[in-house]
Symmetry: C2
Subunit: 339 residues, 2 copies
C-alpha cells in the first residue's frame, strides 16, 4: 500500500468481503449482484458500516475519513458514509489515583459500542468491524487501557466482526515495542493491523481467513514500492542491531518521569502526563498556553508539536536517547518558568 | 499525492469545497456545520455526487471506486456512494465511414449527461463535477471525439460544475503529447487534471479558483515523495532531450497503420483499430480469441495486455520506436495467420 489512508481503505475491503461471504454462506455473488455493483446499486453494492471512535484519526480518503473524528477541518464539506461513532475512554490522570472512575469509563465506552452495533444491525447498516488506534494520536494522545482493548476484542468476537488496530502512528517502535497493541495482552491477535509512517510505506497484515476469494479484489498499480522496502529492511536491521527499542524504552522512562516531575512542579500549567516508550504527551491548561509553550520551546532549539486541543505531543525518532530526553525536560522546565 | 486513486479523491475534495463555498455565498461554515461533520452528519457532511461514465476506471479508494465502472470484480461487495453513471460514446470504426452514427452517439451521450445533472439536483444529490478519461483505458480503450469532450466542457460551464480530466493512464506522453486532452481543442483548459503512473507519483493541477480556503483541508503525511520527483525530473528532461514525444508519434503511426492493414487482412479476427500516439488498441472478435492472441504473442517474445472485453491494448514505453512497432506488427501478423 502507498500510505496509511489506503492501508485502512483496503483493510475495510477485507472486512466487507468477509462479511458478505458469510451473508451468502460462501456462495459467490450472483449475476444480479455482479451487474448491479457496476452502477453502485444493491445488491452488488451493499450497505455496510465500520465503527470508529470520537477523537480517532484514520486518514483522509473517504472511508478512512468517515472513521476520522479528530478535527472538523479534515471533514467539513466532504460527503461521507453515514457511519456510526462511539466514545473512546477519557481517563483521569494520574491513572493510579483514579482507578475506579477510569474502570467505569471503560465500561461506559464498551457498553456504548455494543449498543451501536445492535442499532446498526437493526437499521440494516451493519458494522463489519471496528477500527481503533492503540493510542488516539492525532486526536490528543488519548490512551485506552488493556482492559478496554480486551473488551473491544471480546465484543468483536461475540458479534463475529473484524477487530482492526490502526498502528499507522504507533507502529514501528516509538512505544518501545514494534506494535503498541503488544502492551494490551490481547487473548488473540487483532484480525488486521495497518501501518505506515515509521514503516516508510503503507501496508497491513491480517489473519488468513480475511484473504479475498478472488484475484484483483485488492490491487493497485505499484502494489507497494520496492525502493521503500529496501529502506525499511535497513531500518529494521538497524533497530535490531542498535537495540533501538531498548533505547526508546530507556529514553521514554526519562521523558515520562520528567513530565510527571514538571506537572507536579507546575500544576497550574501542566497535567495528565502519559506515555508508552517515547510516545509521550502532557496537557497544558489551555490551547493558547500549549501553543505558547511550543513556540517558546522552538526558541530553545526544541521542535515539538501539539495534538488534540491542549496536548503537547512528543514524537522523537528511534535514535532519541536518555541524554536527549534530559535536554528536552530541561528545556521544557526553562520555558515553564517563564510563565 | 501518492497514487492515481488519491489524486482523484483529492480532486473530488476541491470540487466539494468549491461547490459548498458557492452554496454558502463565500461565508465560512458555521458552528453547527463544523460540529456535525465530526459525526458524519448534515449540514457539515453534505450530500454531493460526482458524475462518471460506464466503462471508466478512476481508482479503488471509495470515491474513485464509485466512479469506476469497468469490471465488477473491482466493486463487488464494497459499500459506495450512490453516485450516477452516464454513457460514454461507443463508436463504429473506421470513424471516417461512420460519421453520422458517431455524431449521433455523441449527442445521445451528452443529452444523457444533462438529464442526469438535472435529476441529481432535483433529488438533492447535486453533481459537483464530472470525471472523465480522455480514453477509457482500463475499460477497453474507448475513445471520445473532440466534439464529445468539448460538449462535456460546455455542459460543465452551463451548470457551473467542475470538469475533471483523469490523465492517470493517458498522461505523460504515450499519446505523443504530454496530455491526451490537448488533442480535443477545448475552448478552455480543464478545471482539474489528475495524473500518476508514467508521472512516477500522483498529483493534480487545477485552476486557481479551486484552491481550498484553509490549510490542512488537503494534506497527507508525505505530501508527495521527493525521491519520485527527482526521478520524474530526469524522465521529463529525457523526454525533451531525446524528443521522445516525436518518437512516440512516429512509432504510433506505424502501429496504427499496421493494425489497420491487419484488420483488413483478417476481418473475421480483428476490428476497430484505433489509437493516438502509441496508445493503440484493436478488438478481437471474441474474448477467448483476444486471450489466445495475447498468449501466442508471448511465445513470439511479445508481452502485450488486454483491456475491456475484447481489446488488445498496446502500451509501450516512450522509448518504443518505429523499428519496435514493425516487430510488433510482424509478430501479430504471424500469430493471426495461425487461426
Amino acid at each position: 500500500m502507498m500510505c496509511g489512508s489506503c492501508s485502512n481503505e483496503n483493510a475495510f475491503k477485507l472486512m466487507y468481503f468477509k462479511y458478505m461471504d458469510k451473508v451468502r454462506g460462501g456462495i459467490p455473488p450472483n449475476d444480479e449482484a455482479m451487474k448491479s455493483c457496476l452502477d453502485n446499486l444493491s445488491p452488488g453494492t451493499p450497505r455496510l458500516s465500520v465503527l470508529s471512535f470520537h477523537g480517532g484519526f484514520h486518514g483522509r480518503t473517504p472511508g478512512a475519513l468517515a472513521c476520522t473524528h479528530s478535527k472538523s477541518i479534515h471533514k467539513i464539506d466532504v460527503p461521507l458514509y453515514d457511519w456510526p461513532v462511539a466514545d473512546f475512554p477519557r481517563y483521569k490522570y494520574p491513572l493510579e489515583e483514579n482507578t475506579q472512575e477510569n474502570t467505569a469509563e471503560d465500561k461506559r465506552c464498551l457498553d456504548k459500542v455494543e449498543e451501536i452495533l445492535e442499532r446498526q444491525t437493526k437499521n440494516s447498516n451493519p458494522c463489519v468491524g471496528i477500527i481503533v488506534e492503540p493510542i488516539q494520536a492525532e486526536g490528543g494522545d488519548h490512551h485506552g487501557s488493556a482492559n478496554f482493548f480486551q473488551g473491544l476484542q471480546d465484543i468483536c468476537k461475540k458479534h463475529d466482526i473484524v477487530y482492526l488496530v490502526d498502528e499507522v502512528q504507533t507502529g514501528g517502535g516509538p512505544t518501545g515495542k514494534m506494535w503498541a497493541h503488544e502492551y494490551f495482552n490481547l487473548r488473540d491477535a487483532p484480525d488486521i493491523v495497518t501501518f505506515s509512517k515509521k514503516m516508510l510505506t503503507g501496508g497491513l497484515y491480517h489473519k488468513p481467513d480475511l484473504r479475498p476469494n478472488n484475484a484483483y479484489q485488492i490491487f493497485n498499480t505499484w502494489v507497494g514500492d520496492p525502493s521503500k522496502l529496501i529502506l525499511l529492511d535497513s531500518v529494521l536491521k538497524t533497530i535490531r542491531q542498535d537495540k533501538l527499542l531498548e533505547t526508546t524504552l530507556k529514553a521514554g522512562d526519562v521523558l515520562l518521569s520528567g513530565l510527571r516531575r514538571l506537572e507536579n512542579q507546575f500544576p497550574s500549567l501542566l497535567h495528565s502526563a502519559r506515555g508508552i516508550g517515547t510516545f509521550c504527551a502532557v496537557d497544558a491548561d489551555t490551547s493558547a498556553r500549549r501553543d505558547q509553550i511550543l513556540a517558546k520551546l522552538r526558541t530553545e532549539g526544541v521542535h515539538c508539536g501539539g495534538c488534540g486541543e491542549t496536548a503537547i505531543r512528543i514524537r522523537p525518532a528511534l535514535i532519541f536517547e536518555t541524554k536527549h530526553a534530559n535536554i528536552f525536560i530541561e528545556s521544557l522546565e526553562k520555558v515553564l518558568k517563564t510563565f
